[in-house]
């Protein structure tokens, strides 16, 4: 996979990785406050790639499923971009069952509409907790757009590229959420405009720990 022209030092990458670790821990704790679940966290992985490389990256990262649901939630502020929660549909069905068992109320919908709404809610919680914690640690705040669900058949992610500015490079920050009934991935995509701010914010964050 080609590396984009993003320049971020190894040290800044290490800082970002640790912030992701903290943020994902926060996200899972938020989710476990709502449903009776335990999620195994992986070591966060930071990848630098161009947006055109995203479809290949996702299809290489996850196994082939008949359908994958991607929850896309944009956030705006000093730190801006999109959070993607990539979730194989089978995992979504199982997790939504857990939500229902926990008495989670999410409107009067039923059947597949209810399951989509539940997966969107899970994505919303996880993306919000991740982005929110990173923003908090970097001493800023963000506002969110409503989440959107994107359905992908047979690992064909090419259409994802159209959601973003194809000229931009991205930092993909990924961690894997695993639990006994499935797995999902969160990718946080931020654009070139946010990078200078982000690098400066990362350096300032560590100044407190000199």
């Amino acid at each position: 996979m080609n590396q984009s022209n993003i320049v971020i030092s190894d040290y800044q990458k290490d800082i970002l990785q640790e912030l992701m670790n903290i943020a994902f821990g926060n996200a899972t704790a938020d989710l476990t406050n709502i449903i009776d679940i335990h999620i195994e966290l992986s070591v966060p992985d930071i990848e630098l790639l161009a947006i055109r490389e995203l479809p290949e990256y996702i299809s290489e990262t996850i196994d082939t499923y008949s359908e994958t649901v991607i929850i896309n939630q944009k956030f705006l502020g000093d730190f801006k971009g999109s959070g993607l929660f990539v979730f194989p549909s089978s995992s979504g069905h199982d997790l939504s069952a857990l939500f229902e068992e926990s008495g989670f109320e999410c409107s009067q919908l039923s059947g597949s509409s209810l399951k989509i709404e539940i997966v969107m809610e899970i994505g919303n919680i996880l993306i919000g907790a991740c982005v929110g914690k990173i923003s908090e640690l970097l001493n800023t705040s963000v506002i969110y757009s409503p989440p959107q669900a994107i359905f992908v058949k047979e690992n064909k992610y090419d259409s994802l590229v159209n959601l973003f500015d194809s000229s931009q490079s991205v930092i993909v920050m990924k961690t894997r959420f695993q639990q006994k009934k499935g797995e999902g991935f969160i990718l946080i995509i931020t654009d070139q405009d946010s990078l200078d701010w982000l690098k400066d914010a990362l350096d300032k964050f560590m100044e407190a720990y000199q």
Partner: protein
């Protein structure tokens, strides 16, 4: 009195953050490892008074490291410092024999409080 401290965490940034939270007015020998396997090797050599341990690490994670450290020294004092504060994670590390669990990011206050408690135990 705690004098030798071992920090086991795959993130060099996390280790640096933790070191900056340790008391500056005490002479401490600090040893670092980037995974459980390295941590065990260093533990054998220096026998630290206190071990800070991350949970999510490559090679050998914190959950698997705790019993191995307990085998080496049944009185080992392990403070788990982790971002994973799910109820099951907390109960699991405590049942494995960790002294306590602290949430990342550590603060000087949380670290110094934990050190005081650990010194009472030692």
């Amino acid at each position: 009195m705690i004098h030798k401290i071992l920090i086991v965490d795959d993130s060099p940034v996390a280790r640096k953050m933790l070191k900056s939270c340790l008391p500056k007015d005490r002479e401490l020998d600090i040893y670092e490892a980037s995974n459980g396997e390295e941590g065990i090797e260093i533990f054998k050599k220096v026998t630290p008074d206190l071990t800070f341990l991350d949970l999510t690490m490559p090679v050998l994670d914190g959950y698997k490291t705790i019993p191995l450290l307990k085998q080496l020294d049944s009185d080992v004092v392990i403070i788990v410092l982790t971002a994973d504060v799910q109820p099951k994670s907390i109960s699991q590390v405590l049942s494995l024999g960790a002294f306590t669990l602290l949430k990342k990011p550590a603060t000087s206050q949380s670290i110094q409080d934990a050190l005081k408690q650990a010194e009472i135990k030692i």
